[in-house]
């Protein structure tokens, strides 16, 4: 019958319309901004820098190795290495970024920087209400705006953060054990040397304090991390 198809279509429309009052599958929108969907844990928006402890300067994990700067596809990261060094979480002396800027108006949220960083220093934020009326400065984030504590990371990506924390705790322990072993070995050597003339002993104490720190722990991670 002519018109049957149209009636059939109208029936479907009516079904969907009334269904949207009772069936959650037929109504997926929410009244943003009053209501919000919960974001999945994996959600990524823009990168931020992680720091441990209370001080964003001293605890910053980034060692300014500049790998992310090189790998970032649109090259929106700008890093300047420091002249001096500060100790990292295993006590090794490392550089830190004197300048670390990300231009998030260029960033394409690809997460490549996170994937290539061997020091767990950079992670993806899930903050999305970032609009600003300042076109030039407003979206250029400096080190100060980028640094966020590890607790924040644990809050937004709990699973991932727990894994990272576990791994880092293990690495720190291993490094500590290695350092202790190295110190013991050095002490033993010093004791041995101490038996012979004093000149040699002097040299030994000079070196013994700083045993070659356990090899760079991060290097042991597979390259494709």
């Amino acid at each position: 019958m002519f018109g049957e198809g149209i009636l059939q279509g109208l029936y479907e429309t009516a079904r969907n319309f009334f269904g949207s009052y009772v069936d959650k599958d037929r109504l997926v929108t929410v009244q943003y901004p009053e209501e919000r969907h919960q974001l999945p844990e994996a959600t990524r928006e823009f990168p931020f820098l992680l720091y441990d402890g209370p001080d964003p300067e001293a605890g910053l994990r980034c060692v300014a190795c500049q790998i992310c700067e090189k790998e970032c596809p649109p090259r929106c990261i700008h890093i300047e290495k420091s002249k001096d060094k500060k100790p990292d979480f295993v006590g090794k002396q490392q550089f830190y970024p004197a300048v670390f800027d990300i231009d998030v108006s260029v960033c394409m949220s690809c997460q490549i920087c996170v994937e290539v960083c061997p020091f767990d220093a950079i992670r993806m934020d899930n903050e999305y209400e970032l609009s600003t009326s300042n076109r030039f400065g407003g979206l250029l984030y400096t080190k100060r705006e980028l640094a966020k504590p590890n607790e924040y990371y644990r809050k937004i990506h709990p699973t991932e953060a727990a894994e990272t924390d576990d791994r880092r705790a293990k690495e720190a322990e291993e490094a500590k054990a290695k350092a202790a072993a190295a110190a013991a070995a050095a002490a033993a050597k010093a004791a041995q040397v101490a038996a012979i003339p004093a000149v040699a002993a002097n040299g030994a104490t000079g070196n013994g304090a700083a045993p070659k720190p356990a090899e760079q722990p991060a290097d042991k991670k597979p390259v494709n991390q």
Partner: protein, 383 residues
């Protein structure tokens, strides 16, 4: 119908009684063209006598950017080719790199690839049908239903890869992260509900008399012309050519799944519309099988180097059946860390080249419908 050349000759000769030839520039900001795309249309009355597609408004220098970056850094850029189907774009590219560098892919990764690719195909086709019906005046309703289902799929993509559309999920040699059992369960639940949606979606307009009058016999693409023009994907199959790269190349693990390749016989807009609906059903079949057969295991060989990959000098062409047709990536390596040449074969651009042949002799109002049935995304056409 008079040919264009003849018509132009007669107009130039100043012949009387021809009516005026009117030149209309449709686009690039016309809301009914899909994206920033312009058609230079010449009309005699309402009839189209010449149509020139003009593109390039969205050119982003994709190929050269990829040639200046490492192999890894091109993956997020491929998301932005056909921005509705980032997963399949990733796959085309990583397939080319895997061929170039001889990288093996674990089985679990292959299965997850199939799952995300078929979900992508499903949401692309649902969206396309919605847009096509919108072009014909079914304002909003079908598109809204299509986007409602698409949103559910995109939510799954987000919880898997972190982003709804720019997934950046596949890696040469595998995937970026593994999916959880809970995620697979979610997909199973979704896939179980989708056939009902397809039924409804089909019932909405399949037998609608207005739709049939508008689409049947409109924009016919003959089989030979389709083959000669290099048209691929659902458009080619709507013209009755059995060519599906999932069947021809059997890349990935597609040889393990049973599915049919739907074929049309008229090659008109209606066939192209039905082709999408039928392919959605086939995608669901593949999804069910893949979800049943997915093995445990690694998703990436730990020896695979992502950063600093330097394939031996050589060349490779990787192609997949993207929702829009054959998506190919051609790579030449000179042994350094970035490709010497990187070339994309974008299905929607090549499918668009025969637009004029399909439109000649139709009314101007049909041009929009025919364009809608091609399924283009300008991010891919212009690159």
């Amino acid at each position: 119908m008079t040919t264009v050349a003849e018509l132009e000759r007669r107009v130039e000769a100043g012949e009387d009684g021809l009516g005026d030839i009117l030149e209309v520039s449709m686009g690039p900001h016309h809301p009914s063209t899909h994206g920033v795309f312009r058609m230079d249309v010449r009309l005699e009355g309402e009839k189209v006598v010449r149509l020139k597609p003009v593109f390039g408004y969205l050119h982003r220098n994709h190929e050269k950017i990829a040639e200046h970056g490492a192999y890894l850094s091109a993956i997020p850029y491929t998301d932005r080719l056909d921005y509705l189907c980032s997963m399949t774009n990733n796959w085309g590219y990583v397939l080319a790199v895997e061929k170039l560098a001889g990288i093996p892919v674990p089985e679990r990764a292959e299965y997850i690839r199939v799952i995300v690719a078929e979900l992508t195909r499903f949401q692309n086709h649902a969206g396309l049908v919605g847009f096509l019906l919108q072009d014909m005046g079914a304002s909003g309703t079908p598109l809204m239903y299509a986007f409602r289902e698409r949103e559910k799929i995109l939510d799954l993509f987000e919880s898997l890869s972190g982003a709804r559309m720019m997934c950046n999920y596949l890696r040469f040699g595998g995937l970026r992260v593994d999916c959880t059992a809970a995620w697979l369960e979610e997909v199973r639940r979704l896939v179980a509900g989708l056939p009902k949606f397809v039924d409804e979606f089909e019932a909405l307009l399949r037998t609608n008399e207005i739709l049939m009058a508008r689409t049947q016999g409109t924009g016919i693409l003959p089989r030979e012309l389709a083959i000669n023009a290099g048209v691929t994907g659902p458009m080619l199959r709507a013209s009755g050519v059995n060519y599906d790269i999932r069947k021809v190349d059997r890349y990935g693990v597609y040889d393990r799944f049973e599915f049919r390749v739907p074929l049309g016989d008229h090659g008109d807009v209606y066939d192209r519309y039905m082709m999408r609906i039928l392919e959605m059903r086939e995608s669901l079949k593949i999804l069910e099988q893949a979800l049943r057969g997915i093995p445990e295991g690694p998703i990436m060989d730990p020896k695979t180097r992502l950063r600093g990959l330097r394939p031996k000098a050589g060349e490779a062409y990787g192609r997949i059946e993207a929702p829009k047709g054959e998506l190919g990536f051609f790579l030449i390596s000179d042994g350094t860390g970035n490709p010497y040449r990187y070339r994309v074969r974008p299905p929607s651009m090549i499918n668009l080249t025969i637009l004029e042949d399909m439109c000649l002799g139709h009314n101007i109002a049909d041009v929009v419908v025919i364009l809608g049935s091609v399924d283009i995304v300008l991010g891919e056409v212009d690159r």
